[in-house]
């Protein structure tokens, strides 16, 4: 079992109150990229919420552009922003010491990739 720790400074963003059906995730990633010019990965999607990782960008910058993000959502096919659309989770991933990562094949972390 080999384990690699990759540098990835990211902010986790969850948006609720949207309607999702027939979304092509890379189209959303491109739209969000057009705002921030930073890599974006859609990591979790339900019919009414989105979770994304935005790399190399502090949460403060995302808060500042919150309305811009919500507006952009409606421009993405398969995605509809509603009156209750809001950012419900916004947190910067905290660094841990490599030695704190539990070794072993059974270990899987809490909150990474869904897709």
């Amino acid at each position: 079992m080999e384990q690699v720790v990759a540098y990835a400074d990211k902010t986790i963003v969850k948006i609720e109150g949207v309607e999702v059906k027939g979304l092509k995730p890379e189209e959303l990633e491109k739209k969000i990229y057009s705002i921030f010019k930073r890599p974006v990965r859609v990591v979790g999607v339900t019919s009414e919420s989105l979770e994304m990782d935005i790399y190399d960008l502090p949460p403060e910058r995302i808060i500042k552009d919150q309305q811009g993000i919500i507006k952009v959502l409606s421009l993405v096919p398969g995605l509809t922003a509603t009156e209750i659309s809001k950012i419900s989770k916004l947190e910067k991933a905290k660094a841990v010491d490599i030695n704190d990562i539990i070794p072993g094949s059974k270990y899987a972390c809490a909150a990474e990739r869904r897709i």
């Binding site: 990835a8 990965r41 919420s49 990562i101 909150a111």
Partner: protein, 183 residues
């Protein structure tokens, strides 16, 4: 490579919430590399370990030489309600005794992606991450490595390097913890 199976996974794909745009792109790259191959895209499999195992088993029994699973390669929602569980890697590790695997963690300690390259009978099975940019990078690395007849361990390392290369990185922040393999 004569017979190749693509297995997309994920409840959100099955329900049409997300469109599986990965499979056609992966299919295209496979056709470029193996123009004479018989390439199949299986109907998407839900995030259930038994269903993924069944899909892989069936593909092995049908003598697919290369089986690619898409998605379900991270830590998922094992302790976070907002994310679904990821089972592709676990399913393959449960089935195969001959494999190589490398886990990529974010610097926050979260499992980012677990790449598995395994053999069962005459089938080579590889996990591809769900985000498209990673999936295609992983696929290109896998095809390059396979065409060079590299070992499973080398294939796995090439895939991991390709996936990591798609993110902003600082050299000093990349560390390798330990390594071993199992046959």
């Amino acid at each position: 490579m004569d017979k190749i199976m693509i297995i997309p996974t994920g409840d959100e794909i099955c329900e049409g919430i997300l469109i599986d745009t990965n499979s056609p792109k992966i299919m295209g790259r496979l056709i470029e590399n193996y123009p004479a191959a018989f390439i199949t895209r299986k109907n998407p499999v839900r995030d259930k370990k038994n269903l993924i195992i069944s899909a892989i088993n069936q593909s092995v029994e049908e003598n697919y030489q290369l089986i690619l699973t898409i998605g379900g390669s991270g830590g998922g929602g094992k302790s976070t309600d907002s994310l679904a569980d990821d089972y592709s890697h676990e399913s393959i590790l449960k089935l195969a005794s001959d494999y190589e695997t490398i886990s990529i963690y974010g610097y926050n300690g979260h499992l980012w992606s677990k790449i598995v390259v395994a053999s069962i009978d005459k089938s080579l099975i590889i996990t591809l991450p769900g985000p498209q940019i990673e999936a295609l990078a992983a696929l290109d690395a896998a095809l390059y490595s396979i065409n060079k007849s590299l070992t499973k361990k080398e294939v796995c390392k090439h895939i991991v390097d390709a996936v990591i290369s798609k993110y902003p990185q600082k050299e000093e922040d990349c560390e390798t913890r330990s390594s071993c393999s199992r046959k």
